[in-house]
Amino acid sequence: MTSTTTTVNTPRSTLARIIAAGTHQRVLAFASLIVLLIGFSIASPNFMQASNMIAILQATSVNGVLAVAVTLVIITGGIDLSVGTMMTFCAVITGVVLTYAGMPLLLGVVAAIATGALAGSLSGTFVAKMKIPPFIATLGMMLILKGLSLVISGTRPIYFNDTPGFSEISRGSLIGNLIPALPIPNGVLILFIVAALTAYILNRTVLGRYCFALGSNEESVRLSGVNTDRWKIAIYALAGAIVGIAGLLIASRLNSAQPALGLGYELEAIAAVVIGGTSLSGGRGSILGSLIGALIMAVLTNGLRVLSVAQEWQTVVTGAIIILAVYADMMRRKKSN
């Protein structure tokens, strides 16, 4: 779709300039998040409790990390359908390393991230070298990894009971140890660290620059003498490594690697990214947006559940609000031009 919208962003103030540089677009989805939070607080007194806020953040952690990973790929103009099952695959490998092989915790962490990076670079190779459309390459990977998770685990969950510190990765609270009033679970902390690091990479390093450039006009980047294939593989590998972190988070939270889990998480992550304002046609996007998108999804599901809305209506309302949130975003963006 070659839409030649004459959107014009010329940030005037220095602050606006920095924000624009940092996010490459205004993150307007934020307003929708606030509206949701206020709405649910009014509707239910139980919603705005500290413990529920923490529960929402906790619920965002896995999907948030996946959304961060997939943002990178989407900015290059690609898509990654394999993030859900890749997360599971990384968790299973960690299970093998820690529980079956009895290795120390750190090695399990490394294994998860390395597995993700490896799987990601495989997807990247399919896309870059073999010129397979990202949709198909990652759909294939989604199935392959799903199957392999079941094969490797023998279709049984792998428990981490023998690795004492493991469940602390997501459930413990470093912040809470320092400031008892703020028992933010480590999983949430990790989400924010991952998001901050990735945002830095995206906006301040060559890799990030090429993410945007590839999504903007791949051929012109190639003709600038850039080894586009190598960079693309690197980007998919980085996304994979981040998915590996998501694998650690979910395994730690469930204290087990559940080999059958994972399908469906990819759509949710992609939805968070798009709600956050990243364009599926590539070239534009921000990590902050994806984070907010993931929060919107988590607030929405949690809020509706706290309100005890009947499940079937929850689905209807979620669908409607996702559309409305993006619509409101569009309107505000239009106005601000």
């Binding site: 301040r204 060559v206 903007s216 006009n217 012109s220 980047v221 850039v226």
Partner: protein, 508 residues
Amino acid sequence: MSYLVEMKGIEKRFPGVHALKSVQFSLKPGEVHALMGENGAGKSTLMKIMSGIYARDGGEMFVDGNPVTPDSPRAAQDLGIGIIHQELSLMNDLTAAQNVLIGREPRRSFGRLDEAALNKKTAEIFASLQLAMDPRTQVSTQTIARQQLIEIAKALSYNPRVLIMDEPTAALNDAEIAELFKVIERLKADGVGIVYISHRMDEIKRIADRVTILRDGAYIDTVDAADTPLSKIIQLMVGREVTQNAPVFPDTSQSPVALEVRNLSRGKDVRDVSFDVRKGEILGFAGLMGAGRTEVARIIFGADPRDAGEILVGGQPVNIRTPHAAVDAGIGYLSEDRKHFGLAVDMTVRANIAMANMDQFTNRAGVLDEAAMKRIAVKYIERLGIRTPSDMQDVRLLSGGNQQKVVIAKWLLRDCDVLIFDEPTRGIDVGAKSEIYALLEDLAAQGRAIIVISSELPEVMRLSHRIAVMCEGRLTGILPGGANTTQEDIMELATQRESALVGAEETR
């Protein structure tokens, strides 16, 4: 006097740019009114207002004396105003005919298409343009020049009373330009008013009746084309005298060879091409459209695969299979199609200038040095006179000529030993053109080897130390540069067809 279109006190602001400052413009029936100005002067913007694409911020517009405010291209079309855009806007996956008659397809009952009628109608339009093209060819397979011709055919198919042509000849060769001018004469005779924008000064004398000059978004003057010398028009455009220093052609025959190409072949497009370029030399490439010059350049640059041939840089054979390898070997290539192959238009001027040169702006951890990028970008913006509110402006918001300058800046910064410029001055104004010529000569003087592919013969002759001429994929000869080589010499080689004897002449 009755004007077909009259515009008064037109104002237009974009964030950071006051693009039009109380501009006036008028068009009579049956005249060709040239709109002149430097890159970014506001020509395209004024015409986009006339054709309903932009809304004006102030001023008035009249058609046949009645005040109008066309708020969409459709509304302008209904007023009889048609436009051929500076940037191509075709549907690449569709055929030529499907493009030309989009929205007005001949139909049968139940929304069924009458494809035969569609192709026939388009064939008629093409015939009236003397354009030899199968209406069924897919647009994406055509060179930009031929795509431009399809655009022109599309605009004409509306039978407009006012036709705006925004740099229609930027991608055309002389023969096609001649055909286009014939069409313009016919339209004139029918009383159509034509607004003509071009940076090719010679054309103004050939077809324009009046000339309006804009500078920096302000109206300067409207003069009669016949009685105003070109130098005067240029002076009005630029605001100062442009001095054309006479070219010097240094003798480079003893310099070491920088690039040698041996027996390069690829299908029918490139057949057994061999040549060399020496350090400090500017080698021009002339030829008709489709002669294969772009293809030769792309193969050397590794953008397209080759069937056979060898490439030597500095006497060493190099194995170039990708542009990446070419750049490593010290070869740079500026594409003729900036929008598709030259720029990431959604990114900033700064990012685009740095694109071929990221190593220079990254530390070992891969962190970007934005400050250094900014410094360099600002330097080139000044040096090339790129008109932009800041180096953080998205490239797509620049005027066409300024976009071209950004691509040039990108390759100047890369500082390659061998630089191939494919139509480097496409859409660039006279003032900037001579600056770019000076730049190229500078680069050559510094010992770079330069290849310039250009469809403007005067440009090739002005710049080249030697002139290579291609025809139908073959290199038909290399002529010396300088005053001793005439246009006729070049044309003779450019039309030396091998297939002249082979019957049925095919377009591709």
